[in-house]
Every structure is written in C-alpha cells, then in structure tokens.
Amino acid sequence: MKTIQTDVLVIGTGFGAAAPALRLAQAGAKVVMIEKGPRVQTADFRQTSDPKYVLKYLKGTPGDNLKLTYAEALGGGSGFYEMISLRAPSLAFEQLDDDGRLLWPADVDRRSLDPYYDLAERMLHVSQIPVEEIPKTGLVFAHLMRNLGYSVDRCRYAVRGCQGSGFCVTGCVYGAKQSLFLNYLPQAVSAGAEIETDLEALAIEPLPARWRVGAPLRDVPYRYRVTARRRTGERELVAFVARVVILGGATVGTAKLLLASRPYLPKLSEHVGRHIAYNGSVKVAALLPDGVPDADMFTGRTHPGMVSYQFLGSHGITVHAVKAMPLMLVSAAHLRLRDEPQAAFWGAPNVELMKQLRHRMIILDAFGLTPPGAALQVRAGDARVALPITAQLRVYHAETKRILESILVRNGCRLVETDFLDKTFMPRQGIQFSTAHQVGSCRMADAKEHGVVDASGAVFDYPGLYVSDGSAIPSSLAVNTSLTILANAERIAAGLIERYRLPLPGGSQAQAA
C-alpha cells in the first residue's frame, strides 16, 4: 500500500474542509485534501432533469421520520447548493438542551463568529440580492406577507453575475455561483495544498508518538494514519500519515468515519453520530387566487430571493418561498387540492393541478430551531437516521404548519395537500422531515460528557484530530447552514494556526480580528 506523509490531512473538500486547508497551506503547512466524490468544475455541469446526472452527485441518507440530502463531489455541497448565505441569528446560539445547558460551547456565539462570517462572506462574494433581480416567486411571496402586515427581507447569496437560469442545484454552468472550487480550493492549491478526488477515507488509527504540549507543527510527530480507498480504477488502498488530521466529511461522512474508526479510537465520545439537528423544515403549498400576479416557478435563481424573519422571535422559524423543479417536486410528493379530497394524485385532476404549477402555485417552507434529536445508525457501512417524534416536535410541526397555512389562506389561496413520498414512492405516514441542513453528529461542547469535540474543533482525548464541518455545529440554525459551517471552520483554522505556531497568512485572523 502506498503511504503518503503530510503535515495536515484534510478529509473532504466542502465548507468545513476548505477553510482550514486554505489557511494552513497559506501558513506553510503541507496540506493534502482527500475527497470521496469526483472532481467537478463548471464545465462538468449540466442544466438537466436527468436523475442519473443528479444522483451522481446528490446522495441521501434515509431514515425514520427524517431524510438527509447532501452532495459528494469536489467542493462538497457548494457545487449544488442554492448559494443562500445567511448568518445564524443570535437566538440559534442561545438554545438550551433538556437540562438547561447551552447547546453551543460557552465562547462560541454570533458575536464571536461575526469576524469569521465577514471573512467567509468576502471569500464567497456574498451580497444581498438587488431588488431588480428578485424572481417573481419571491416578489409574490413578499406581496402575500405584506398583505398581512408581515416583514420580508432580501436574502443574501454567494454569487456573481447570476443569469437567473434556475439550475443552481444541478451546478452553475456559468460559474456565477461561488462554489468552493472557484475560490477556497484553487487558492489552497496555489498555496501548495494537494487535492485528491475519488478517494474515500475508511479509518483513522493513532500512531504511537510523543510530543511536547504546545509544540509547533514542525516538531509534532506523525500522529495518525488514515487508510483510504480509491473509488475508481483498481480501487487500491492508500495510507496517509499526518501530524494533524482534520475531518470535513460532513454530518453523515464524518460520523461514519469516526464510528468506523472506533476500534482504533476507543476513547471517542459516546456522542458520535447523535444529536443531529436538522432545521425542522415544514412545507406548505397552495394555489394563488386570481388577482395575485404570476409567481413563475421556473424562472430566476433557484431560491426566490426573500426570507421572512417575522416569526423568528416568536416561534423560532424563518419563512421562505420555494421554487421546485418538476423533477424534485413530483418525485417528492403527491399533490392534490385540499378542497378536492377525492381527487387522485394522477389523471385529469392532477394534470389540471400540474398545469398551474408554474404560474399559480406557491410553496412556503419554514426552517426552525428544532432540537438536535436525530441519530445516525450505521450497519455494514449503510447509514440510516432515526428521529423520534416527541410531543414537542408534534407541537412545533402543527404550529409551524398552521402559521404557513394561515398566511396562504388569509391571502385567499387554495391549499394543496402534499403527501410526501418514501423511497418506493409510497406516501409516508405521520410527521416527516427532510433536510439538506443536517448538522451536529460530532458536536462541539464544553466537555466530553456532552459532545465529541471541544470549541476548537479538537476531538476529546485525541490530540491532533479535529472536526471542522457541519457535524461540529451543535444546533439547528433556522437559516441555511453553509455560511455558519464555513465561518466556524475559519474560526477553527485560526485556532489551529495559533496552536501550531504557524505564521499568520495574510488573510486569516489578521482579517477576521
């Protein structure tokens, strides 16, 4: 087996991985990144609804009452996200667990993250959508909210020169969306980092080594050996030995890797794979009444430009309008008008409904501060996620749905029933959540009794092993997750540079401070 030595091995190339890889490479460390998914760039993307193309990159973890979606490719979720880039509200950092303890470590909150949000926003060219670019769906959503005296804000995006093609989730063919392979990753390579794709880390083993606490990186011995397998060709095994290993495989990938490594890392916290938060997304659809302008679902950027914080303080939710491409919508739910309960999800009534999808249908989605109640179970390499539906969750779901429906009904809309489907296309029973905003399977905490890593991202009891991706984020955020993951990863990177006494790169803490 080939063995590669490096100062720092970064597993993954998504938001959590990109920041430490770039900053440590800029600071002079030898950095290798390994990515399970394929190498992609703008030219590889297609504007298509071909499921074979979509499923090449977008993967899911099924489960009980919760379904997780994520991307596996160079840049992680950044190639396929809708580039919504919002800071988590202060409220998110103030959430408590059942015992009244703060979910977040004491010294990580909105104020301490703000400088890193600034840095992340600069790197990704995040800005508020100009008024004159808001897609019709977003404007109609704003109109409905305004009718009721509610507020709506223009959303923020990581994009430059958006053409409004509406194919953000199949990858931006124009290079407008600020995916990580346009900024962090090439900059990391320019600074000396190497990136290998189609290479999956399988297990992490500590190596027998002694070092002085607080030693600079160059004096730290090789402490971990990571075995990886190529996913193409002969599928050979490759070993990496590293002084520092940073896990950026995301909520599912990082937890799976740590769980697979538990035989070699017996002191790992029992919390690995647990406490997954998921932004409790509740969706409601309706047909607009006559007189409300066309809410064209098929033109303009995928996310329609607006977010409402109206119910954040009172109910812990943000409200968005959603644009759904036919592929996503029809495979996700059977639709029928609520006031026509006998109408089938197929045949003439369904065709009539589908004909209204583009211009007359509006879908609202709420993201909420639901507790981190889901857990990952891995058997024979296959992951499932389980979310017990508690009384508290039932109340949240019912109340959130009531708010969304009330917005629509008071505007004269006709509600559309959405029967969400399972993997065999059968309608799912009971409360079901699905999300691409999963975080927290290896959460940060002040002590090992409550989490997997400390506030610096260091895995408890395993010096030199760090987690910097979404799995370290301990709570739902009520907004999209990527910017917070990236800002937190920048914060962790700044800590690593300090801890390992690396020279300050021109742009890390210097800019963030």
């Binding site: 499923l55 899911g60 897609p135 109609v140 495979s331 197929w346 969400f420 993997k423 699905s434």
Partner: protein
C-alpha cells in the same frame, strides 16, 4: 432478463429522487405469480399497454411520444424489471373487470378504473402501481430524457433556456416588497 425475473420478481429501487432532492430507493421484495409468456416475448405488446397506462395517468400526454414509456422500461431504473409483469397485470385486471383482453382497447374511464384497482390492491401491488404512476409522472413532467425539451403541458422548458431579466422579475419590484426587519438580510 425478462425471463429470469418473470420467475422470481424482486421489486427494488423504484427510486429517483425525493424530499427536495434526496435520492430514493430501498429494496422491497415481492414475489408475484407467473404471467403469460407473451409479455416477455412481445415488447411491442408491453409498449402498447404501457402507453395506454401513461396516457391514462397523464391525459394530454402524446401517445406517440417516443419517450413516453421509456422510464418504465429503462434498464437504468429497476422498474424495467417489472415492466412486462406490470403490463400483464394491467391486462389481466382489465379483462377480469371489463371482459376486454387488450388493456389499450379499454375506454379511458375503464383504464382509470383498472389503475385504481391496482392502487387499492394488496400492499405489494399498490407499491408497484404507485411506483409506476409516479415514475411515469416524474419522467414526463421533468422531461428527464431531453434537457432541451422539458414538458410543454406544464410550461417547463427544460434546461438551457435563457430569459432576460425583464421576464424573471417584475418591472416595479418595490411595489411588492414588505417592510424589512434587517439592514442587510441577516437577522441579528
């Protein structure tokens, strides 16, 4: 392949995509009775029945569209393994109920009744009918075989259709906007 699975049908992976995009598919094994060999031997018969099925599920879809039933027989989607069995089942139910041995000769209402029958049958059959209906809808409305074409019936243009800004938004956006709670789009 059809022959092989006509003996032992394992119904797996109807899946495409679900839940705001999640990938689908779990194995759901079913055993079904044997069906007439002619459905294995005559792909045109299967094609005719499936076309009649899809145009019943989606009235208005063009019966002669070359891609109309492609997803149901596309070897990349596991439903293809059940296409012949499914066509045979539609035919059998149609004949039992209406005495007409050719499903495609039934009236649209009769065909709809047959499909309803399948959707209300035992759990395994329900799953197959649900899968077939949904797969047909996904393929048709999303235009999965032609990125350029989309689906004219619902005004979906497929990919690569550029629209000027004037078509994406309204000329007087400020008229729609509600009060903002934040100066920059980020909640405090």
């Amino acid at each position: 392949m059809q022959d092989h699975i006509s003996r032992r049908l394992a119904l797996k992976h109807f899946g495409l995509i679900a839940a705001g995009l999640a990938a689908a598919c779990t194995p759901a094994r079913v055993l079904v009775n044997a069906y007439p060999q002619t459905f294995d031997d005559d792909p045109e018969l299967v094609d005719r029945v499936l076309r009649a099925f899809v145009t019943t599920v989606i009235p208005g879809a063009a019966a002669d569209d070359p891609d109309l039933v492609r997803a149901l027989t596309d070897p990349d989607y596991p439903f293809a393994q059940f296409a012949a069995f499914f066509a045979a089942d539609l035919t059998r139910r149609g004949e039992r109920r209406f005495g007409e041995p050719a499903f495609e000769q039934l009236t649209p209402d009769q065909r709809a009744a047959v499909i309803r029958d399948g959707l209300e049958a035992d759990a395994t059959t329900r799953k197959m009918y649900n899968g077939a209906v949904t797969l047909a809808q996904v393929a048709f409305y999303a235009g999965i075989y032609d990125a350029q074409r989309g689906c004219a019936l619902i005004g979906f243009e497929g990919g690569y259709h550029w629209h000027p800004l004037s078509e994406i938004t309204y000329p007087d956006p400020a008229l729609f906007l509600a009060a903002a709670l934040t100066p920059d789009g980020n909640a405090a």
